[in-house]
Symmetry: C2
Subunit: 153 residues, 2 copies
DNA sequence: TATTGTTATACTCTATAACTATA
DNA sequence: TATAGTTATAGAGTATAACAATA
């Protein structure tokens, strides 16, 4: 124990938390996520809608279950997301000839355009928030983050 | 557009999301956070209670506002956290001679012991989840994460 | 006037369980 | 039996606004 009466040192002396990976991940994520929302504006896509739209644009006819699996969230959680994207006119729930259970998600022209615009904004904002890291450092960071995930999947 | 009818490629072909810093941060954080909860068990401390307790143990007599500021959350959000820690018997809300508005947070013996145990468990679990990264890589990752935050504060 | 702790409230994200229609 | 999508529901986590006590 370092103090018994006063402890204003929380600002000067580094806390134990600082060397926790989880804590640092969370704090960094909150910064980047804040940038994300700022980049996409008041009624812009949420991170999860953006992620889903990204997959739909890149893999047209992907099913809701596939999107959920890829994003690592539950099937049920995807309903609201797809509802949102459909309401915005960014995709349609289409049908698949062979299997009438499946909803194939197809991006609209609007959806593809909106994604392109949003993607550029998000990337630019991320670049700005990371501009005090060198290109090399940014690449290393992403590589290491992927490596954490690599073991799980 | 790469496909018009079928797209099972979401698993083979890397998605656009993969090079977003935010996306990779979130996925990595979810893995580490899952490990955290597994390490602390069913009725264990939540990440935020653990973080708060960590500060209280390291900086006895820290105020709620100081904890909130350090963790980057709202003052109001801390009430429930401190309630939780108090109910567990890990700290007490004490008073400060000079200023009767402030609650100085003081860890109990139980609190210090619980933190030591939890801290070890969390660190071990993090180490295990990161064991496929070299020591050098782990250190680099934490350093880069801190660097993102360094600009904001 | 400003600050500390507090309450009330609401919103987002997410998970679980159960249902339906298909397979 | 199993799977895709859906609904209902509940629980974290967090933010905002307003309040009382105190500075």
């Amino acid at each position: 124990m370092k103090h018994t009466l006063q402890s204003a040192d929380a600002e000067t002396e580094p806390s134990d938390l600082e060397d926790h990976v989880g804590y640092n991940l969370k704090r960094a994520y909150l910064i980047i996520q804040g940038g994300f929302r700022a980049a996409l504006g008041e009624d812009g896509l949420s991170p999860r809608s953006y992620s889903a739209l990204s997959l739909v644009v890149q893999y047209p006819n992907i099913s809701q279950s596939e999107v959920a699996r890829t994003l690592g969230i539950e099937r049920s959680g995807l309903v609201a997301i797809v509802d949102d994207l459909e309401k915005r006119g960014y995709l349609i729930r289409s049908t698949v000839p062979g299997d009438r259970r499946v909803h194939a998600l197809v991006p609209t022209k609007d959806g593809m355009h909106a994604y392109a615009t949003a993607s550029t904004a998000v990337r630019n904002r991320e670049k700005r928030l990371m501009s005090h890291l060198s290109e090399q450092e940014q690449q290393t960071l992403v590589d290491l983050l992927k490596k954490i995930r690599a073991r799980e999947e």
